[in-house]
Each structure stands twice: as structure tokens, then as C-alpha cells.
């Protein structure tokens, strides 16, 4: 053929390789959009509190790969805002929200944060899902002295004066799951995860705790977040003959994992899976029944609390609702109410006043998972640990619960099996 097509072929190959290298790098937890903090002094707030409304920013990926998860968070934030407005608003001011699209692109998250804080002058921003998006937002809210509420369980090892975390940190999800496995007498555990910062950090913690509990780790496998085919890795899992699989896979790769698992002839009766990312929304979307497997969360739709039924009913009646409630949704719902409680305790929308109110450790909210208390030091909330087992109607039967609400400990300082040098290493690796 002609030289043009030769050049073309090289071009195609180069493009393909470039994209993959970029994807792999992103998967390794590259800090896309990370800006160097410092330089400019904290900008004075431009939040307008003179009228009868308060502007808030919602920042969720409505397009791109993460829209799969983040659209629901955006919807539930809208529902919480409507509820708060119907009951009188925050400090008698109605919420007026500005919805922005993070577009599954971490630099975009940073740019939109800057825009929301400096142009829209919002009182606080709610959203994010991936750790990469949070890490892109962090330096920008810190530089502008803004507030960011992050609603998803994550790998911990972080605390910022400008971020409030309403999802679980590792000692509220990973450690309860390990306690549950120990109570079941599990001896051989296999770790399967997507290849990015959360599963890598979670598994580092799991391995340390497993050593203390006397559980043997018989293997550890990772597949990039954007790859669904788990067949080869499941062959390795089957050969290792674990009694249980700890699953930290995220997104649609979970579907590929579950399919490969059943195709290989594994079953919940012999090799059950415990997951930290399969909830009520994901369980019916696996293309295979998943009855008998477990998940570790702080909230389940099946929880019986004073406020849960009302939350479920409101959500079912809400436009564009998926019809089921799940842990990340509930954490997003908490985040807006927590902000309301903070502002009302402070009597002001000012960030410094809000943080000072948090310091009193007296901010609570009667959440669907139970009454949560904010820790003023690390900006995380107390949560109950629950293990649910998937039943035939794709809901979770609660089979194990922590004795009490678990205090957040993002740096695992209260666990003697977690050495300080490992902590420093992991904090550094997580950036």
C-alpha cells in the first residue's frame, strides 16, 4: 500500500499506546489536576448572605465513565435540598444550588471547584466520588478556604480543614468486614481488587490485620479499573482454593468479575465473596444472581431505624429515582444535612465559624443509618458497621453488626497492629 497508510498505521498505534499509558498512569493514582497550594493567601470569602437564599455547589460527574455512579448522588443531593427548603432552609435561607458536571475528568473537578468558589461564590460544595476527584478538589478548596463535602467510603489516611467526609473510612468498613470474617472462622482469604489507590491501600491494611487475626492471604489480584474481563484472574483464584474472597473491585469491572466467577464454577456455598462496592443498586445489575454473597457497609435499605423508612419513601417518590437506596446515596444525603447542622450551630455561613462549631464535637444528625456524630478533629462521622447478605430479591439481610457506632479513625492511630512507618508510607503513596 501507499506510504500514507503506513504512516497512518504508525499513527494509530501511537495513539492507542499513548491512551493506554495515560490510563495506566491514571490508574496508579496520578494526581491529575493537583495544584501546589500556597502562594496566594486565602481569598476572602465572596459568599453573599444578604438575601433570603444561600448558594451551594453540587459537583458530580454527569457525563463520562463515573456518571454511572455519580448521577445518583447528584439526584439525592437535589432531593435533600428540596427537603431542607420545604422545611424552612438553612438559617431561614433557601438553598439555591448550582449543579456542575465534573465529567469524570479530574482537572475539570479542580476547575469547577475554583469556578464555584470564586465566581458563583457558593457556601459549600458537595460531591466527588473517586479519590482522584477528591485529591483534585482538595488543594483548590484549601487555597480558597472553601468547604467540600465528600460522600463516599474511601481509603482514609486524609484529613483537611476544608473537607468533611461523610462516607466510611477504613476502620468503619474494612476492619468490620475483617472482624466478621474472623467470626466466621475464615482461614484462607483471597484479595481481588481494581488497580487504584483505594483497593491497594485497603489491601495493605487487610494484610496487616489478617496477620493479627490469624487469617492467611492466599493470593492478591488486581485488574485495571477500565477492564472487565476477569477470566484469567479467576482461574488463579480458583487454583488458590480460598474460603472467602475479599472484593475491592469497583464499577462495571465487578460485573465481569461476578460473571467470570460463576463461569469458573465457583459458588457462594463454597467460596463466598465479601464486597465493599456492591450495594443495592449494583446487585441487580450483575447479569447473574448473587444470592448468598456479602457486603460491608454502614447503611442498607433493609436497616430498621426511625428515619430510614421516610428516606426510602421520599427517594422512591422522587423524580428520576432508581427506586432503591444505598450507602453512598445515604452518605450524600447526610452531607447536606450535616452542613445545615454545622451552619446552624455556628450561626453563620463563614468557614472559620463552621469549623469552630465542628470542634465542639456536638454536631449530630438523625441519619437513616442512625444518629451520627461529627468528629471535629478529623471531620469524619461516627458510623455503625453492618454486614449484609444478598437475598433472592437483591436486597441485603443484615447478618452482623458492630457493637456500637464506630468512631472514625482515618489514620488508624488506635490500632496497635498498624505500624507508624506503614502509615507514613501509605500516606505518601496516596499523595
Amino acid at each position: 500500500m501507499s506510504t500514507t497508510s503506513k504512516r497512518l498505521r504508525t499513527l494509530v498505534a501511537a495513539g492507542a499506546i499513548g491512551t493506554t499509558v495515560a490510563l495506566v498512569l491514571a490508574g496508579c493514582g496520578a494526581k491529575a489536576g493537583d495544584e501546589t497550594p500556597g502562594g496566594s493567601a486565602a481569598a476572602s470569602s465572596c459568599v453573599d448572605t444578604s438575601g433570603d437564599t444561600i448558594k451551594l455547589g453540587f459537583l458530580n460527574s454527569l457525563t463520562g465513565g463515573m456518571a454511572i455512579s455519580e448521577k445518583t448522588v447528584s439526584n439525592v443531593l437535589h432531593m435533600a435540598a428540596d427537603e431542607i427548603n420545604a422545611s424552612g432552609g438553612i438559617l431561614k435561607k433557601k438553598i439555591k444550588y448550582v449543579q456542575e458536571d465534573g465529567a469524570t475528568d479530574w482537572p475539570t473537578f479542580a476547575e469547577k471547584t475554583e469556578k464555584l468558589l470564586t465566581q458563583d461564590c457558593v457556601g459549600a460544595i458537595f460531591g466527588g466520588w473517586t479519590s482522584s476527584s477528591r485529591k483534585a478538589v482538595k488543594p483548590v478548596v484549601e487555597k480558597n478556604n472553601g468547604l467540600f463535602f465528600y460522600p463516599v467510603q474511601y481509603e482514609g489516611l486524609e484529613a483537611s480543614p476544608n473537607i468533611y467526609y461523610t462516607g466510611a473510612t477504613t476502620n468503619q468498613q474494612i476492619i468490620p468486614a475483617m472482624d466478621f470474617l474472623a467470626s466466621k472462622g475464615v482461614k484462607n482469604l483471597f484479595l481481588a481488587g481494581s488497580d487504584y489507590v483505594f483497593p491497594r491501600t485497603a489491601n495493605a491494611i487487610i494484610k496487616l490485620y489478617a496477620a493479627k487475626l490469624g487469617i492467611k492471604i492466599v493470593g492478591e489480584e488486581y485488574v485495571p479499573l477500565d477492564k472487565d474481563d476477569w477470566t484469567t484472574q479467576v482461574a488463579k483464584i480458583k487454583a488458590a482454593k480460598p474460603d472467602f474472597i475479599f472484593n475491592t473491585i469497583n464499577g462495571s469491572s465487578n460485573v465481569g468479575f461476578i460473571k467470570a466467577y460463576y463461569d469458573a464454577g465457583l459458588t457462594a456455598a463454597t467460596t463466598p465473596i465479601i464486597s465493599v462496592s456492591i450495594a443495592e443498586e449494583e446487585a441487580p445489575a450483575m447479569g447473574h444472581e448473587v444470592t448468598g454473597h456479602y457486603a460491608s457497609w454502614n447503611y442498607f435499605q433493609s436497616l430498621k431505624t426511625d428515619t430510614n423508612q421516610k428516606f426510602i419513601d421520599s427517594w422512591k417518590a422522587y423524580p428520576n429515582s432508581s427506586g432503591v437506596t444505598s450507602d453512598p446515596m445515604e452518605a450524600a444525603y447526610i452531607s447536606l444535612y450535616l452542613y445545615k447542622a454545622l451552619v446552624e450551630a455556628a450561626g453563620s455561613f463563614d468557614v472559620t465559624a463552621v469549623n469552630a462549631a465542628a470542634k465542639k464535637n456536638a454536631i449530630t444528625f438523625a441519619a437513616p443509618e442512625g444518629t451520627v456524630t461529627l468528629d471535629g478533629e478529623n471531620h469524619h462521622i461516627s458510623k455503625p458497621g453492618h454486614i449484609g447478605q444478598i437475598n433472592a430479591s437483591k436486597q441485603f439481610d443484615i447478618v452482623w453488626s458492630s457493637d456500637a457506632f464506630i468512631k472514625p479513625d482515618p489514620f488508624l492511630k488506635g490500632y496497635d497492629w498498624f505500624p507508624a512507618n506503614v502509615r507514613d508510607q501509605l500516606v505518601k503513596a496516596a499523595g
Partner: protein
């Protein structure tokens, strides 16, 4: 043997799926110089077709066999629509086709996100694919065997069609030398459209197979487009055998590396091998020899 049998078998199945995804690209790239970045979304359309067929036909034993030809036609029609509405104005401007089709792929992804539940939809495997075939001590999932059979049937049908039908001869003539084919009275425009239909249709079939392996959602096409382009680049254009060997090579390579090292490292290693290969043999495995001067 234990370290060799599972990755070889699963790699062949992975290669078979890559082959189905790459065939259409190889056809349209080889014949028209079109770089179709929306090809992965035709695969997605095939997978969503499998889901929709499953909504109509309750039994998954039946719905998957029915979905295969339906997905072929549906994805093929989308391909035809793309050709008629956009691509036909851009022949011989490959860089422009690349940019435009990236845009089309984003539009198709967002459309899928708007129409279907954002979590993706479940496609159930037919009951007759439950179980494993024991090969030298390894329980090989039947679904993998199915993927290989499906690819074999598609490739055989395509090869026979190219070789024995008049349409096939016209396609091959156009690939060899477009100007000469036109001089001989072949309507290369019609040939182009038909090629686009068949190529996109094959991606639809690949989509049905992919829906049995991973998730069916708006972004699924993206994970197949890059390896499929690699297969096309490594295989050389205009000939089926190059695409077949390259697809199997990439599939088995990926699977072996994933089995011996880790899933992430496998991606890197496989890409490095292809880069090195293209350095040594930039024209790919096979090329069509012509006597044209350009």
C-alpha cells in the same frame, strides 16, 4: 502445564473477541482509510441489543442466539447511518475521520447514558453456557468456548463471502486499487457502504459476546477500541489472516502476562511487545502487494 493451559485457553478466547471487534475496523481502515473511533460504540450497541432482546424473549437460552443476528443488523444500520451522514464526506482525510468519529463516540455514549439506567443493564447468560469443559485438568468455562466458536463462524462466513461472492470480489478489488476498480465499472460508493455495514455489524456481534463477559453500559466500548486498533496495526491491512493472527497473539499475550504477573502489568507488557514488533515490521504481519505507484 498448570501455568500454561489456563492462559493459553483463556487468551485464545480473549483473542477471539478482539478479532470480532477488530474485523470491522480492519475492513474499513484497509479499504477506505477511515479511522473509526466510534467502532467501540457499535459494540456497545450490540450489547444493548442483547439486553433489549432479552426483555422481549424471556428465556436467555433463546434470547442470546436470537440477539446475535439482530445485533448484527442493528449495529450494521448504525454504521450505515454514520457512513451516509458523515464519513462519506471525509474519504481520504483520515485525520478528519478520526476527530469526527471521536465526537460521534462521545455522543453515542452519552445517548446510552440517557436512555438506559446509569449503572448499566444486566444481560443474562444462556443456561447452556453454564459449566466448564475440562481440558488437561483445567476447567475451561464454556462461555470461552462459545466466544471462540462464534468468532470462527463469523470469520469463516466473512472469508467465504469475500472470496466467493461478487460483492466480496468488488470489496477486494477496491482494497487493492480503488481507481482501477472504478474504471472497471465497480461502484466503489456502494462497496464502501456495504463494507461499513458488515464491519459495524460484526462489532455488534462482538458486543453480544462482550455482554456475557463484562458489564453492559455506556462506556464498555472504550475498553475494546484500543486493543482492536492495535490488532489492526499489528496485523497489517487488507488481509484477514493478519488480523486473525494478531488478535490471537495479543489475546494470548495479554492472558499469559496476566496469569504470570498481574492484570495491570499485563497491559503494559503486551503494549511494549506490540511497539517493538511495529518497530521491526512497521507494515504489520501481512500487506496487500499491489503494483500501484503510490
Amino acid at each position: 502445564m498448570d501455568a500454561l493451559i489456563p492462559p493459553l485457553l483463556n487468551g485464545s478466547a480473549q483473542g477471539a473477541l478482539l478479532l470480532l471487534a477488530a474485523l470491522g475496523l480492519s475492513l474499513t481502515f484497509g479499504q477506505m482509510g477511515v479511522i473509526n473511533m466510534a467502532h467501540g460504540e457499535f459494540l456497545m450497541i450490540g450489547a444493548f441489543t442483547a439486553y433489549l432482546v432479552q426483555q422481549v424473549i424471556d428465556s436467555s437460552d433463546l434470547s442470546i442466539p436470537v440477539a446475535l443476528p439482530v445485533a448484527f443488523v442493528v449495529a450494521g444500520l448504525f454504521g450505515l447511518l454514520l457512513e451516509v451522514s458523515i464519513i462519506q464526506w471525509m474519504y481520504r482525510r483520515p485525520l478528519d475521520t478520526l476527530l469526527v468519529t471521536v465526537g460521534v463516540s462521545l455522543i453515542l455514549q452519552q445517548a446510552a447514558l440517557q436512555i438506559f439506567p446509569s449503572q448499566g443493564v444486566p444481560v443474562e447468560k444462556p443456561g447452556w453456557l453454564d459449566g466448564q469443559l475440562t481440558v488437561l485438568g483445567y476447567d475451561w468455562p464454556l462461555r470461552q468456548v462459545f466466544t471462540i466458536l462464534l468468532a470462527t463462524v463469523c470469520v469463516a462466513a466473512l472469508a467465504a463471502w469475500l472470496k466467493y461472492t461478487s460483492f466480496g470480489r468488488r470489496i477486494r478489488a477496491t482494497v487493492h486499487n480503488r481507481d482501477l476498480a472504478e474504471t472497471a465499472g465497480i461502484s466503489t460508493r456502494t462497496v464502501d457502504r456495504l463494507t461499513f455495514f458488515v464491519g459495524s455489524g460484526l462489532a455488534g456481534v462482538a458486543g453480544v459476546a462482550a455482554s456475557l463477559i463484562g458489564g453492559t453500559n455506556s462506556t464498555m466500548g472504550a475498553q475494546y477500541i484500543i486493543p482492536a486498533f492495535l490488532v489492526v496495526a499489528a496485523g497489517g491491512i487488507g488481509q484477514l489472516k493478519g488480523t486473525i493472527i494478531a488478535a490471537l497473539g495479543v489475546g494470548v499475550g495479554l492472558s499469559c502476562f496476566a496469569y504470570w504477573t498481574t492484570g495491570s502489568l499485563a497491559q503494559v507488557l503486551a503494549f511494549i511487545l506490540v511497539i517493538v514488533f511495529l518497530q521491526v515490521r512497521p507494515q504489520g504481519l501481512f500487506t496487500v502487494r499491489t503494483r500501484s505507484l503510490v
